[in-house]
């Protein structure tokens, strides 16, 4: 069953078109990488789905609802949790307060308090370092810890899908490994759908799953990450041998 369906999405910034007519559908429980060189439109596509930068045309369906043009907070309430690029933790809040922010929207549900405490403990067990620093200011965490915190924050909203923009940005390779290990483990445990934007296709090849390669605002390649790997087509997309 398709969780997310995009039809003919375009994103424009003034006269610049960042995403040109992207259509795709993502199955429930999949791991999907969107890769591609700088300026390919990966982040723009993600931000359009999350409602941060509305798409200028096309339709987006999530979990059976049409979310085209909806506000980001409304899309988040439906179970689409986005982790924006640059690990923007709420710097002046404590780690625990950061984790609590996303739970507010479910506060009217029955048993919210117990559920939240349970979720909090689950996040702490996945990322023990966060528990250690739970009362510390989030802005003072290291880059890797901040990445774990934003993933934890996304988990606290009990999403169907987590969309992450460049989780490896500015992280040491071994820290990136740790982040991915836990992400993949969480995915299988919680039956999450992952939508990950990465500039390099290497990570997708390592982790596996579906890989979409973008270039010039379009999807130029769609396949199994391990099979597509580092094929000539991928290299062509990055370096553009075929284009000129």
């Amino acid at each position: 069953m398709s969780l997310l369906v995009l039809a003919n999405i375009e994103v424009r910034y003034g006269r610049l078109t960042a995403v040109r007519g992207v259509s795709l559908s993502i199955k429930d429980g999949d791991t999907v990488f969107i890769t591609g060189p700088n300026g390919a439109g990966k982040s723009s596509l993600l931000r359009a789905i999350a409602g941060v930068t509305p798409a200028s045309c096309g339709t987006i369906d999530f979990d059976g609802y049409n979310i085209t043009g909806k506000a980001p907070e409304d899309i988040a309430r439906l179970g689409f949790s986005m982790v924006p690029e640059g690990r923007d933790v709420f710097g002046s809040l404590t780690v625990e307060e950061n984790l609590m922010v996303g739970t507010g929207m479910k506060a009217r549900d029955r048993g919210w308090k117990a559920k939240t405490a349970e979720d909090l403990e689950a996040v702490y067990q996945t990322f023990p370092i966060l528990k250690e620093r739970r009362h510390g200011q989030a802005g003072l965490l290291s880059g890797g810890q901040q990445q774990m915190l934003v993933i934890g924050r996304a988990l606290m909203t009990n999403p169907r899908l987590i969309a992450i923009d460049e989780p490896s940005l500015g992280l040491a390779p071994n820290i990136t490994d740790q982040v991915y290990e836990r992400l993949i483990a969480l995915q299988s445990l919680k039956a999450l759908t992952l939508l990950i934007v990465e500039q390099s296709s290497t990570r997708a090849t390592l982790v596996g799953g579906r890989m979409l390669l973008m270039r010039g605002g379009q999807i130029v390649l769609d396949g199994n990450a391990r099979e597509v790997g580092n094929s000539a087509a991928v290299q062509a997309a990055y370096f553009g041998y075929e284009d000129h």
Binding site: A50, V52, A71, P72, E73, A76, R77, S81, M82, V83, P84, D88, V89, F90, G91, S92, L93, T94, E96, E97, N98, M100, V101, G102, G104, M105, A107, A114, T116, A117, E118, L120, E121, A122, Q125, T126, F127, P128, I129, R133, H135, G136, Q137, L140, S142, G144, Q145, V150, R153, A154, T157, N174, I175, D177, Q178, E181, R182, A185, L186, L189
Partner: protein, 360 residues
């Protein structure tokens, strides 16, 4: 970092342990308690000293604590600077005047008031509560429109609110007495009601800051995009804070009216806006402790400068600063503090009993 051997999740994740009750309230309640104790200690000391002028100076300080804490509720938590809040103080002060002045006087000086206000003569504490509700309601109406804006646009729009309220109150002769003073407001000279209002304001501010709404608002202050992506409806949370802070500003206005017995529209305009915002910024915009301590420090400073301007006897001669130096010195001191500590004296922290290491 943690050990890198964690290739799978711990077994326990499938069946999480009994959750520890999260207790943000219990952890942070020490801050409003300490701040209230500070306020009450100052009040007790003043009452023991029994000096009339000192008592009046302390009443002014308590009123300012209410006002600056009111500002903090919106500005501190949302990060949006507001120049308009003193407008709600104006609304509160006039509402208190309407509700408490002797009906005979009102019929002569403010004949345009509706009859239920003309006949009203409430005790000061009832008028203060109604004034706060009235100002809060006004803030809700204005905020409904304003809270869609952010950044400098929102700040300028709040300034327009201040100008609007001032213009209405300066011209509506039959209801507000226009620019002339409205006199005859019963004066309350005991310090305790004012200290009580300050404590109430402090606890309301704390309760709001740790509430879900306050938490969401503080998150949106740090990173609006990420907050929206976490499901935070930013305009709504801003409106909640704007309304509560408007009500506290109204309470402060009522307290001010009862402390001096006279209101004019210009009492609640640029001068008061400047001094209250300065106190908040110097103390530290992002913290309740900063708001309270900013008031205490700057008030003490202003008092000291006034005292020096009036002249201090030094042996046989009198040492006095030239008139007007008070404003200049205050300005210089503020610039120095902000240059050295841009986040204010307290910064983003709160005072606690045990020095909680937020940087751990």
């Amino acid at each position: 970092m943690t050990d890198a051997s964690l290739s799978t999740l711990p077994e326990t994740l499938a069946n999480p342990r009994k959750p520890a009750p999260f207790a943000l309230a219990r952890k942070t309640i020490i801050t409003p308690i300490l701040l209230s104790l500070l306020v009450l200690a100052i009040a007790a000391l003043t009452v023991m000293l029994g000096s009339r002028p000192f008592n009046q100076a302390m009443i002014d300080i308590m009123v300012r604590v209410v006002l600056v804490v009111g500002l903090y509720i919106f500005i501190g938590n949302s990060g949006v600077l507001s120049f308009g809040h003193i407008g709600f103080t104006c609304l509160g002060a006039y509402a208190a005047a309407w509700l408490t002045i002797n009906p005979l006087m009102k019929k002569a000086s403010l004949p345009g008031l509706p009859s239920f206000l003309l006949e009203a003569r409430l005790p000061y504490w009832q008028s203060a509560i109604i004034a706060a509700l009235f100002a809060g309601f006004a803030a809700l109406i204005f905020g409904k429109v304003l809270m869609r804006l952010s950044g400098i646009a929102a700040s300028i729009a709040t300034f327009a609110v201040l100008a609007m309220i001032n213009t209405i109150y300066s011209n509506w002769e039959s209801v507000t007495g226009a620019t002339s003073s409205v006199v005859g407001i019963p004066i309350v000279r005991t310090l305790w009601p004012y200290a009580g209002a300050a404590v109430v304001a402090i606890f309301i501010a704390w309760g709001h800051a740790i509430s879900r709404s306050g938490l969401a608002l503080r998150a949106a202050r740090d990173e609006p995009t990420a907050a929206a992506a976490s499901g935070v409806d930013i305009p709504r949370e801003r409106l909640v804070a704007f309304t509560i802070s408007g009500a506290i500003m109204g309470l402060g206005g009522a307290a001010m009216a009862h402390s001096i017995g006279v209101v004019t529209p210009d009492t609640f305009y640029l001068g008061l806006t400047f001094i209250t915002l300065s106190m908040l910024v110097v103390g530290g915009m992002g913290s309740l402790s900063g708001a309270v301590i900013g008031v205490l420090l700057l008030s003490a400073l202003i008092q000291a400068l006034r005292w020096l301007e009036a002249g201090v006897p030094l042996g046989s001669t009198t040492f006095a600063l030239p008139k007007g130096l008070q404003e200049i010195a205050l300005g210089v001191i503020m610039i120095v503090i902000l240059a050295l500590r841009p986040a204010g004296l307290i910064g983003n922290r709160e005072i606690t009993l045990f020095r909680v290491n937020r940087n751990k």
